[in-house]
Symmetry: C2
């Protein structure tokens, strides 16, 4: 009888609630305004040959490397950041090795590492979801092979500073340190310039968030050339599709478009946080394009009431330490107007209901 | 110091010669006429939202399942067949397990299996690249965990019949049998209807060949629902991009377009084989959209002389048993006219050169 590897049975199934997303998409931290018009123009001009030919990634990889001020040998385009994580797990993790992550965080680190046979060592975030630097350092063992840190982190929006990241890399020289900067554009701080000088450092970026290309699947994994050469071996030369390659080239040529969008998101983030503060709703200050806040036991009613107003937000109740929490993506100024009006209405409505809304306000410290 | 898994060091690096492919593309077995106009129309109509949203594969998976007369739970869309192979290796292969393949064959089976830590057991094809059924059966061991059979096979064009495939599946109940039908449309024979009744059978299909969508990266892995449920666990829910999903839906709705193209390819295949026979060039009768033939020591001069005439063909000299061999993809009637004229010229030219062209004609039996 055909049996899977034992590790496969331990992998949590991941079913993102994607079906039938009708409304203002403030649930998946996507770009809610859309990519550069240059990208759309390129898409419309693509012909039969681009579709029929196997994708040729090299020239685009060179362009992206230039954009990131890295050498082409330090950069691999990936089928979204998911493939970058997958490749790192495949390259470095033997069964019984350890993945070290702060929790809560992006769920795919754990899924791919578990599939590779890793033990998952999850270190709870500190008070108010602060990056648990000291606790992580204490959990490094000779079996630690991958440390994954999203900064800004999802779903909390909190960040890890460069000095502490470098300390982690230094303290675990036998491990790969992945710094996942998927939300970099909304925070603007990066360890990318350290690529090349720190041999076990990898940085991931994505075109799925600020760039508005989640549908195309284009991520970036950067690392020192020597390690990237190993990572490349386990991947497919065709994993990034030709439409993504064409569109990425346009996207990086129109950073003004991104800058304008990011400015709105950062402004909207402050506005949403102010309103939550004013309404007495506990939230966690965010450096990303979303804000996590605490609704408590009425969270499902909250999500549903927002949905009835045409706004999709994401229940994060099942993330560790996030009981009762909801995450809202921040979009454009106009979308923030709409979101804030709905937040006020729904919170007002639920506060009037039987179960008081803010009773659990300080339950997470 | 960061070191990769031992298996990674054993993986052969794979660098397809993709750079700067100028001319008639008879080198990668792609569709040379292009996909259905319906696909192109859909591509042109895609908007910002399709690009910005995470891909939702379920409805397309249902449509593809219907197209294949399977249940949705038996079908997984993949980022090309490469991802299907990768997922099977990740799901079933522990270090030290065995991959059993006839050789020569498609190179990615070996690459992904080696990355998963498998020992590669390659069984040489029989005389004239016949499918080595008996030899494969003899090589099954308790550690055989994946058997990969491309039918029609690449680069030989030879096929494996249903009865012998079913015998393999039965003889190795602890192994996954992958029947890779990437070239199905040019052969029209399939074991797909056996999905569901043979628990360890998987069938792969692709939109990269007959359908003309190699650039988009869309493959299909089919298997019984129970096993597919395990395979899904190790993959990403977002691995197939939204443009591919949209285009696949159109592609399967316009099979007339494919039928017309396949008719031309099958006609062209016979014509090219006749010309090779007439010119005294050894070739292997093919059921795919390509023909493998033996040029011998002058193969590089041959490939270059074809290139000077604007035609790209593929040197297969380094495949096991393929010393001196070249592979030509078959395209439309008009492209076959051009290819045949060039074949006649180049073979005439090289036959007149110092080293006689057909000296090794029977060297492979």
């Amino acid at each position: 009888m055909l049996r899977p590897r034992k590790a496969v049975l331990k992998v949590k199934e991941y079913h993102p609630p994607l079906g039938g997303r009708q409304g203002l998409r403030l649930d998946f931290n996507e770009n809610t305004a859309g990519c550069s018009p240059r990208v759309l123009a390129r898409l419309g001009a693509l012909g039969l040959e681009t579709l029929a030919k196997y994708p040729e990634r090299e020239s685009v990889e060179r362009a992206v490397a230039g954009f990131l001020r890295l050498a082409p040998a330090q950069v691999l385009l990936t089928n979204g950041v998911d493939e970058a994580i997958h490749l790192l797990c495949q390259t470095y993790i033997e069964p019984g090795d350890e993945l070290l992550i702060p929790v809560p965080t992006y769920s795919m680190y754990e899924i791919y590492a578990a599939a590779a046979g890793a033990e998952i060592v999850g270190v709870p975030a500190g008070e108010d979801f602060r990056f648990p630097a000291e606790a992580l350092l204490r959990q490094i063992t000779p079996r630690t092979r991958l440390i994954a840190v999203a900064t800004p982190n999802n779903p909390t929006g909190s960040v890890a500073g460069e000095s502490v990241l470098l300390k982690l890399a230094e303290a675990a020289p036998d491990a790969a340190l992945l710094v996942d900067e998927a939300y970099f554009e909304f925070h603007q701080k990066t360890v990318m310039p350290r690529i090349g000088s720190i041999p076990n450092l990898f940085v991931a970026r994505t075109f799925s968030k600020a760039f508005g290309l989640a549908g195309l699947r284009a991520g970036v994994l950067a690392g020192c050339a020597e390690q990237m050469n190993l990572v490349r071996r386990v991947g497919s030369p065709y994993s990034v599709n030709a439409v993504a390659l064409a569109c990425v080239q346009e996207a990086i040529a129109d950073t003004a478009h991104i800058d304008g969008y990011v400015t709105q998101v950062r402004r909207g983030r402050e506005r949403v946080q102010s309103v939550l503060r004013e309404l007495g709703i506990k939230f966690w200050p965010s450096e990303a394009n979303f804000v996590l806040f605490l609704i408590g036991e009425q969270r499902l009613a909250f999500v549903e009431a927002m949905r009835r107003r045409g706004i999709l937000v994401r229940d994060r109740n099942s993330d560790p330490g996030c009981a009762g929490c909801v995450r809202i993506t921040i979009g454009t100024d106009a979308q923030t107007d709409v979101a804030i009006a709905a937040l006020r209405e729904v919170i007002g409505e639920l506060s009037g209901a039987n179960a008081p809304l803010v009773v659990t306000r300080t339950s997470l410290g």
